[in-house]
Assembly symmetry: C2
Homo-oligomer: 481 residues x 2
């Protein structure tokens, strides 16, 4: 019992101020737990759930009620038709029973202001859990088995499930009951080997004892060792995740490339795995070879229709169908096709004076400049351009007509410096390494449908400012904070 105090305080983190909701089935494990917590002075609520799976169920509830009352412990109960729920949700009876029972327990715990839900899982349950996960091909998260204290966010965001008896054998709880004059119930369904867990308990574990007579202890030891490893890994991955994830959206996770590069391949493998499981919660596994390529920061197709690719300073892990954010780039929407001009504005899109919005905070402005200085032309900001104003519109009225639109199939333009020759816009985009998905809606400023400025990338040669230029247009694109 000396150890038990330590387990309850240190591992389960329980105090003696707030009530603990003990989940009691009436079997030796939970009956021993209830009695033991009571004896150590923990304020308690005793809860039992009627799964309505067996005719004895109502009698068992009555037994637990009596056990609670005889200890002076408040009692709560509820019931549900587990078999019906399992059928409706396509779950196994075991899964359905667990879900409905836990829902009840955590709801009752919250209503009672309980600090925790306490369950009577023993070292035997732990061995069975580890074995079950092992047979399914689990990773660390499954093989580490059950923890002494754990929050299950699906049931309650704060109240933990605690398991004080994980170091006890099932035989220890039975002995405890005998020594304390308790007469627990023995659930006959525990012998039913149509349940997977019962098959493990009654058939497989005894068979494994012919390979290792201390197999139960071995599995418990494995669980404990892996819990320590998993806690450290979780910590390291969480810290790296916080440091390297820039954005998470529907169907994608965007990492900061530099942050990933500063870590090791093993860390990246784990980050991408976490991202994959975040995007595809039902995913069983991530293809190893693909993960290796991803860890080497090469593009890779991962299991589950996910793709990893590098894009400038970002690395995306994204579902094929995901709409990735374009917030880093100016883009023209279907609705734009804007006309902006120097002195008057005619537009089918949000335009205010000599400027128009491209969405996502991007703003294109257009200003007349009557005095050209060399200084301006030396400005290397790619988001600025100077055009010869007299080439941009009606010279008689002095009105420029600029239209902002997206590219057309096969379209060509004449980049600044290439007099006479023109290139395919598509090839130009490839050459300047514009990410593929940004090309389709990249804003092009046009004069009479001819490209004058590939925004942020290159001016068209014919529209450049020359010695003969009298008036210029200063185009600028910027992003509002």
């Amino acid at each position: 019992m000396g150890d038990m105090r330590e387990i309850l305080e240190q591992q389960c983190g329980l105090n003696k101020t707030d009530p603990v909701l003990a989940a009691v089935s009436g079997g030796p494990d939970s009956v021993a737990l209830l009695h033991l917590l009571r004896g150590l002075g923990y304020p308690l609520v005793c809860a039992t759930f009627n799964h309505r799976l067996r005719p004895e169920a109502a009698d068992e509830v009555a037994y637990v009620r009596h056990a609670a009352e005889s200890l002076g412990v408040p009692f709560v109960t509820d019931s549900a038709d587990v078999a019906a729920y399992a059928g409706a949700e396509g779950l196994s009876i075991e899964e359905a029973a667990r879900t409905l029972r836990y829902r009840f327990l955590f709801r009752a715990a919250r209503e009672a202001g309980a600090q925790a839900v306490a369950a009577g899982h023993t070292a035997d349950d732990q061995a069975e859990t580890v074995l079950m996960h092992f047979l399914r091909g689990a990773g660390l998260a499954g093989l580490k088995g059950m923890s002494a204290r754990l929050v299950l966010p699906v049931f309650d965001p704060e109240i933990p499930l605690v398991r004080p008896l994980l170091a006890w054998q099932r035989a220890d709880t039975e002995a405890y009951c005998r020594e304390n004059g308790l007469a627990p119930l023995y659930d006959p369904s525990n012998a039913d080997t149509t349940y997977f867990r019962n098959r493990l308990r009654h058939e497989l574990i005894p068979a494994l004892e012919s390979y290792n007579p201390r197999i139960r202890q071995a599995l418990v030891r494995t669980a404990l060792a892996l819990q320590g490893d998993e806690a450290l890994l979780a910590e390291v991955i969480e810290a790296a995740w916080q440091k390297s994830v820039l954005e998470q959206g529907t169907g994608f996770v965007a990492f900061e490339r530099a942050a990933l590069e500063s870590g090791s391949p093993a860390l990246r493998r784990n980050l991408f795995k976490r991202a994959a499981f975040t995007l595809r919660p039902g995913l069983r596994d991530v293809d190893f070879a693909a993960l290796e390529r991803a860890a080497a920061l090469q593009s890779a197709d991962l299991t589950g229709g996910l793709r990893l690719f590098v894009e400038g300073a970002k690395i995306y892990l994204a579902a094929y169908e995901a709409d990735l954010p374009f917030s880093d780039w100016p883009q023209v929407g279907e609705q734009f096709s804007v006309i902006s001009d120097q002195f008057s504005v005619s537009s089918r899109a949000p335009v205010e004076g000599n400027q128009c919005s491209l969405g996502e905070g991007w703003l294109l402005t257009c200003e007349p400049v009557l005095l050209i200085t060399e200084h301006w032309l030396l400005i290397t900001d790619p988001w600025s351009a100077w055009l010869d104003a007299d080439l941009t519109g009606d010279t008689l009225t002095g009105t420029s007509r600029l239209r902002v639109r997206a590219m057309r199939a096969g379209e060509r333009f004449q980049p600044l410096g290439m007099s006479g020759a023109s290139v395919k816009l598509q090839d130009f985009f490839v050459n300047v390494k514009l990410p593929r998905r940004a090309r389709k809606k990249w804003p092009l400023v046009c004069v009479n449908d001819e490209i004058a400025w590939v925004v942020g990338l290159r001016l068209a040669h014919p529209f450049r400012v020359t010695e003969k230029t009298k008036r210029a247009l200063h185009l600028q694109i910027k992003r509002l904070p």
Copy 2:
């Protein structure tokens, strides 16, 4: 075969310049490996080991020799009496066979200037390995199974063991042999279920298939997932180890307390576990509760006669019997019992002028001071003390007689500030939190066997400098770099 190129280059890290030593038994796995590596253009040496366990062994060597020669591959072989070695070393036949075979393979690889030893382990071997470790209650290191590339320092510090066939089923290697007209040998001992591994292969795995028909694939998946986790953990722990271990000696590891405190409990748990396994290589397990206390930086007795304790700025994990270094503290040895004095020196230990060495670089010096200034007395360096010189020896000759010795049982002294009262030295040590093990040989500067200065800790009240002091002695202890 496309994948195989990638496996050989990326996962196994092989080049086509240096030879690869293929370990060939003559069975389908290794015969397929030899043929496949040859076909892909890797320069090879074929090696086979005669374990002398079966009458067919010599014929099998001849078969492998022939297979190598028919491919134009150089051949090396050796043999040993495995059964005799197993008996002499108390090993199982399997362990003895593995040890002698690997010794031969890595020796031959080094002689051949090989870049790696390649073995034909398949996904089936991987599943068996994971299962074997699982049954023994292994942690991550065992459950992760075999790696595609691994250095085994016991056999060679540099040459890795590579396993290109870990993604192939055993049936794949048999099919490969058939397709390529190879007629491998079938080792009859593979059916011998007195060998543990063969029992797993022929009995347990088929039995587990009734729980999960794809159990082999599940185990291989587990191995791959855990390999990724283990690589990251190893990295994190190695980095923390480098950062926090101050000293490693026979039977102890000394950590920097501040470095451990800046990490998490999970990290500390892993560092202490690593330290425990370093100190006790044969250790199976570390007691969980003790590890928890250790992780909370409380003193703890760990499994294997190891103790964790905090000592000032250090945290030791040490064997009970370990001689911990005293280099941080001054200590007097048996051989010391030194007399040092102001103007003349008589000693049975290394003394030079008015100073004596206490070993480990610690030096005690003694200087006469004829002019006392308040400034000196305000110096708070604990390693300095001023005594009234006229109380320290023969006032007629002006000679001080100081003796440095260790404490005696039950000894008392009168700490500075406590006029009239004396305390037990033992209690004083406890009060000032001097580590227990430093007390026994803590240097005491004495006058006529009476304690004048508990070095570094407190002056004795009677020997203090007062207004009446005419001459002082300045005692100082320091450590030479």
